[in-house]
């Protein structure tokens, strides 16, 4: 199937990506070619495996192992906050959830 510019724009929005008009056109043509290629999977889908049998690679490992909860190291928190673009005391600073005209952080 082919993906149109509108569709690419809609999916990009879902993925929280803004792409330029030029990118929309390029992506639409490249992604259509890729999706066309992927559509060959229809011919291979014999439905022999159940949906439960889908986690192919990870099934080769042991089943997931729960680990005991442990308190976070305080030093790790400092390093975590050092990586934050903006923080105040022990909190991350981000813009308001709701847009306010001209308001920032």
């Amino acid at each position: 199937m082919s993906l149109g510019v509108e569709e690419v724009r809609r999916i990009a929005e879902l993925a929280r990506l803004r792409i330029s008009a030029r990118e929309e056109t390029t992506f639409a043509s490249q992604l259509s070619e890729i999706v066309d290629y992927i559509d060959q999977l229809r011919e291979f889908d014999g439905g022999t495996a159940s949906q439960d049998d889908t986690h192919a690679a990870s099934d080769t490992a042991d089943s997931d192992l729960p680990r005991p909860a442990s308190a976070a190291d305080g030093a790790l928190l400092d390093q975590f906050l050092d990586n934050a673009p903006a923080s105040l005391d022990r909190f991350l600073l981000v813009p308001q959830v709701k847009a306010t005209p001209g308001g920032e952080e």
């Binding site: 999916i11 993925a15 999706v35 999977l41 014999g46 192919a56 490992a61 042991d62 673009p85």
Partner: protein, 485 residues
């Protein structure tokens, strides 16, 4: 010292014949000499490496035991954490990010005595087959600077091939260790899924990602895998199976071992040189005493399409964490949280990452989920079953690593599908979770290396290494790229 193997170098350092300090100094001298033309390294850790090396020499002089990789300079792919050091994953979105802790595999490597000398280039978020999707640097193939080193662990492969370090760690999701190893004429191991901890590795597609070694010969790769493999409670997918000594039986050869070729892996996908190289590789295996048989794994033909649905679906979820709030790039002037997310991601991610996130989001979106993600997941399950049946008929399977030797830089950047199709022989292994090793099998008519891929059952990594070693012994291939001689 460049000519020395990791194994030989560590032995010489342990015995006091050589010093770790000199080994590390020699590695940096070599990097200073050739990396301007190779472009493998993004950052060098000179002071810390010198300190670690001095500590190893001191421990030896005090009579304390040293690990199997004592003093071996090692390059780390830019997606694995070393505490206190920057980690960019080849992306602008992680500019300035410093790892707060060390990855499980890196911890083990260092505990075995290896000395990390720096981080090396990769395709952004490990998405690519040529290293050209890196937002940070261009890496060239040491055999010919006009050629791509392969990807996504292109920096790891190029650094080892150019003898800048005897050892590197890479990560492999759909071929990202094996294909660059083949392109650069080195050995690359993608271990069994769950064999090596991914704690501290930036996630791309969590059901497929594995860390593994790249080295100039099979014994060094086996030594490194033995050092990094084993349980880690911090990665819930990491197997509890204890690590083993992969060198123990590595010289035992493959006399009488059944090795299968896969009927559906047609030579039509191969360039003529690569087809010839694979044919010769089969003859070499026969000379080693292997019994060649043919097996059937029909779904290998669906692997690339299946892989690009599953890997990108997982990537679209994994990469949702990069939104400008906790680390990395944040867009300026956002008036709302949503604007900050969208702005940061749009400015921070390069085109291939955006393309793949969009593809993955599409495959997971309402109305398309069953037709794409659901179908691909079913096929992957069936493929795994087919591999399991094939391993009842042959202990090991072999394929070419890649349809051709290295391609030119720039040749495929505008054609993502052509780039994806270069993973035709490596993605089936990833989907099945089985180990795959690329071992050099000679040069093509352009003088560029070709790789043979050896596959084994889950957790039979040692068997694949043994076959790779027998093959290597028989071919006598040496990684000596003239361009950086």
């Amino acid at each position: 010292m460049q000519a020395m193997t990791a194994e030989g170098l560590a032995a010489a350092i342990r015995s006091g014949e050589r010093n770790a300090v000199d080994a590390v100094e020699a590695a940096f001298a070599r990097i200073d000499e050739v990396d301007a033309s190779v472009g493998a390294f993004l950052e060098l850790w000179r002071d810390e490496a010198a300190e670690r090396a001095a500590d190893i020499d001191r421990r030896r002089d005090e009579g304390l035991p040293l690990g199997p990789l004592a003093g071996v300079p090692t390059a780390l792919k830019d997606n694995m954490s070393l505490a206190g050091h920057e980690l960019n994953c080849g992306s602008r979105i992680l500019a300035g990010y410093r790892a707060p802790y060390t990855a499980g595999a890196v911890e083990r490597l260092v505990a075995a005595g290896a000395v990390p000398v720096g981080r090396v280039n990769m395709d952004e978020f490990a998405m690519g087959s040529s290293c050209e999707n890196s937002a940070l640097a261009t890496t060239r193939n040491p055999w010919n600077p006009a050629m791509a080193p392969g990807g996504s662990s292109g920096g790891s492969a190029a650094a080892v091939a150019a003898a800048e370090a005897p050892l590197a760690l890479g990560s492999d999701t759909g071929g990202s260790i094996r294909q660059p190893a083949a392109f650069c004429g080195v050995v690359g191991v993608k271990p069994t899924y769950g064999r090596v901890s991914r704690y501290g590795l930036v996630a791309f597609a969590s059901s497929l990602d594995q860390i593994g070694p790249l080295a100039r010969n099979v014994r060094d790769a086996a030594l490194a895998l033995g050092a990094i493999a084993g349980p880690d409670p911090r990665d819930s997918t990491c197997s509890e199976e204890p690590a083993c000594d992969f060198l123990e039986r590595i010289e035992d050869g493959i006399e009488g071992v059944k090795i299968g070729t896969i009927r559906e892996v047609g030579t039509s996908a191969l360039e003529s040189d690569a087809a010839r190289g694979f044919e010769q590789a089969l003859q070499t295996l026969a000379r080693c005493g292997a019994e060649l048989v043919e097996v059937s794994v029909p779904l290998v033909e669906a692997a690339v399409a299946t892989y690009y649905v599953l890997a990108n679906s997982e990537a679209s979820a994994n990469l949702a964490r990069f939104d400008g709030s906790r680390y990395g790039h944040r867009a300026a002037g956002a008036r709302s949280l949503a604007e900050m997310y969208t702005g940061s991601r749009s400015e921070g991610f390069g085109p291939e990452v955006k393309r793949r996130i969009i593809l993955g989001t599409f495959a997971l979106s309402s109305g398309y989920y069953d037709a794409y993600y659901g179908r691909a997941a079913r096929i992957a399950g069936a493929l795994r079953q087919q591999f399991s049946e094939a391993f009842d008929k042959a202990e090991l399977l072999v394929t070419p690593t890649s349809p051709s030797g290295a391609f030119k830089l720039g040749e495929r950047v505008d054609d993502p599908l052509a780039m994806y199709l270069s993973d035709v022989f490596t993605t089936p292994t990833s989907l099945a979770g089985i180990p795959g090793i690329s071992v050099p099998c000679g040069l093509d008519s352009r003088g560029l290396p070709l790789g043979l891929q050896i596959l084994a059952r889950p957790f039979a990594d040692g068997t694949a290494l043994r076959a790779a070693r027998a093959f290597e012994r028989e071919t006598g291939f040496e990684c000596r790229p003239e361009a950086v001689s």
